[in-house]
């Protein structure tokens, strides 16, 4: 089970990124404080309008609202992805020191993060793609703090790379964001939990078998007793 294992992608088309986000939105509890990373995680915000879920943005905003457009744009009201956002009733602003006190201090219930690779023990590699050629430096941003600080870390990503390589591996080959931090992986094919026994396959999308998922995963999967079709 190495990173070079031959990956077989099933003929069933994967779900869209928005559906990964929806599956994750359905996992979030009311009243929770949630931080959404750049990429697919940001799309989770489209599915929680009207729900009692408080988005934290590491730039220093709680109850971060939906994206602002046109005349709603205020240059001093952005999220950590540099997008203009709206205020909500009860929104608050604070400095980045306080923001990361929240993050490292265990006050964030869930962080949803993108990833380049996840290992069988929940190691996360998400900030440094060697293809960029910058060596040991790169855009760490808030990812390492979120990975170690949030009570629960959910990874949202495609199951394999665009050139068909495995992203779920026995060991990550890219530079780590944090060790043993991931709780759940939701991909465009499956939902996998990281447990002390290893990766447990809980759900696959309609038409995809457990064997199909294993065939595109370079780490061994334990099939859950209650393995089932992913529902939305």
């Amino acid at each position: 089970m190495s990173a070079t294992k031959k990956i077989i992608v099933p003929e069933i088309p994967p779900i869209e990124r928005e559906m990964i986000a929806l599956r994750i939105a359905n996992m979030l509890e009311d009243g929770s404080y949630v931080n959404l990373g750049i990429g697919i995680p940001t799309l989770v915000s489209n599915w929680i309008e009207g729900r009692d879920i408080n988005l934290q943005s590491e730039i220093g905003m709680l109850k971060c609202g939906p994206l602002a457009e046109d005349e709603e744009i205020e240059q001093d009201r952005i999220n950590a992805s540099c997008e203009f956002v709206m205020e909500l009733p009860g929104s608050s602003y604070f400095d980045i020191g306080t923001s990361f006190a929240m993050i490292r201090g265990g006050h964030i219930d869930v962080a949803v993060l993108g990833a380049l690779q996840v290992s069988a023990s929940g190691d996360l590699a998400g900030w440094n793609n060697p293809a960029r050629g910058m060596g040991a430096v790169g855009n760490i941003g808030g990812s390492m703090d979120l990975a170690v600080g949030a009570k629960k870390v959910i990874v949202a990503m495609d199951h394999v790379t665009v050139d068909g390589k495995a992203k779920i591996l026995t060991e990550c080959t890219y530079s780590l964001t944090a060790k043993a931090c991931v709780d759940v992986i939701v991909t465009n094919y499956a939902l996998i939990e990281v447990t002390p026994e290893g990766l447990v396959l809980k759900e696959a999308i309609d038409g995809v078998t457990a064997e199909d998922v294993q065939n595109m995963t370079a780490a061994p999967l334990i099939i859950a007793d209650d393995f089932k079709e992913m529902e939305f």
Binding site: I38, S57, E58, I59, G60, M61, I73, E74, Q75, D76, R77, I78, N79, A80, C82, F84, Y93, F94, D95, I96, G97, F100, I103, R104, D123, N128, N129, A131, R132, G133, M134, A136, V137, G138, N139, I140, G141, G142, S143, M144, D145, V148, G149, S175, L176, T177, A178, K179
Partner: protein, 233 residues
Amino acid sequence: MDKVYNTVEAAVEDVFDGAVIAFGGFFSAGRPAGLTKALAKRNVKDLTIVLQQVGPGNEEILDLVTNGQIRKAICNYPFPRSASKGADHPFEQAVKKGEIALEVFPMGTFVEKLRCAGAGLPAFYTPTGVGTVVAEGKEVRVFNGREALLELALTVDFTFVHAWKGDREGNLIYHDTAQNYNTAMAMAGAITIAEVEFLHAVGDLNGNGIHTPGIFVKRVVETGRPDLEIADI
């Protein structure tokens, strides 16, 4: 003490070769663009710059880069988000060629290093970065069964911040997410210089809602509210 300077040029006049300078701001929010542009017009070099990232969305810093004024950068998200933009970006290419030294810290560590410098705390332990490249060369110590890294305070010679409202004694209020790094950096600077959108008389601001008390600020200059230019990141 009246701390008002009439121009950004006068406010940055004594920045010296080799100085370490922290710049507040995050994309469109709270960037000290006026002070930074004034610095780019001065013939100072070998600067160490401390800030989240070097453009896009921080175009005025690019002048310092292309002028060859930068020796080192300390950042947490240094490059353009997309690799393709990075390939065209003068800062990323200068780092790649070794013309600018780059040190990267996780965002929470980065801001805490600045706060600690301002707060007289020489070092702290954080769980962030354990088991990653960030931990290389750093002491790892276990507290309550959990590993943490020793990180050092980051002292800076000058800090440039951008505030919404300020009074003549340096009390500052930032606007919404423009607070960002400005608060911690204002504490860290041996000489903190604030550009403000609106300069107020002493006593006009509500003392119970000040983000940066005047004791942290040596100079204030009114630069007005910047135009919104949305950078393509």
